[in-house]
Symmetry: C2
Subunit: 216 residues, 2 copies
Amino acid sequence: MRDSFHGELSKINEILVRMTDLARVAMDSATTALLTSDLRLAEAVISGDAQIDALHRELEERSMDLLARQQPVAVDLRTIIGGLRMVSSLERMGDLARHVATIARMRYPDCAVPADLKPIFAEAAQVADKLVVKTRDVLVERDVSLAAEIAKDDDRMDELHRELFARVLDDNWSHGMEAAIDVTLLGRFYERYADHAVSLARRMVQLVTGVLPTNA
Amino acid sequence: MRDSFHGELSKINEILVRMTDLARVAMDSATTALLTSDLRLAEAVISGDAQIDALHRELEERSMDLLARQQPVAVDLRTIIGGLRMVSSLERMGDLARHVATIARMRYPDCAVPADLKPIFAEAAQVADKLVVKTRDVLVERDVSLAAEIAKDDDRMDELHRELFARVLDDNWSHGMEAAIDVTLLGRFYERYADHAVSLARRMVQLVTGVLPTNA
């Protein structure tokens, strides 16, 4: 029975890893759709979000079932509850990628992002990707030493977010109001996506070490 | 032992209700601070958010302790897990009120919201308040009939959110870029706050009826 219990636990962890992969691909694709005005890709991200939501429900059902049948304690209990918290962040990351794709689709065949701001969004997407890859490593390898790096990546995201505001507020802004609103919202979506990745990693570190890191 | 267990459960419910009250007051105060450029009130909301975060941690600790010591099943288990999910929404609602207050403080002694848009924000705050009061009733009275009303209030919030975008994008917008960005972000904060209140109420209805409502 304990074997099947730990089999169930590792199944739950697999779902978390799978959702992390999907949330990563979703934001990568949403960014490509955004920066290259790729309508089909934007629509694929939007419809693909249902898969993340379905895994969310599956994880919740499996966790409730496991809690009810096996009544785990100590580290097993914390792992299941930790998973239930992490799954909410992953679901939100999927939503945020979908929001980016929705703006890309709304402006098609135009591009929501003015050409001179594309490098900033490309870097924001790159930072988000690095964050998710490291968070995945924390999840799979339980390598808690990555927490400090993750905090640093998140600082860079905050800088990029501020840079976007500065550009929009610059007197030389010549792209009009619609682009200003799009850029403001897009900046927030990337920043929130990164926040959720950081929160995921912190929860995982807490599971492994028993302490919620304050620096990550 | 079962008595003390149900005492613990109702303590957890009390914390949820207390957090709902705090999240409600936080958004009410943040709105007043925003619309009347009240610096002290804005700062009170910002520092007061720590209280919501502390209750969040207290609820999580009590829930974990209860799960580990009593190993509840069926409805008791679902109540505790439901509480852990709801507490995340409440914590985010506190954060969003703090974000509104932060914008109010940042623009002080000016007002972040142009005079002609104040009625829209006043109504958004009113709708948010109605939503939270009804969500609290679902929480306290287990009155699931409120779910449909809550969905209607949320529709009104979405309309107000769209109205804000329309105003900012109107050719007659004369308040400049900074106000446009503030209004865009503020609109999103109120809308997300309402979404979390709706999600709270849905989770509660699910606990009472066993079914997650799709219309609410």
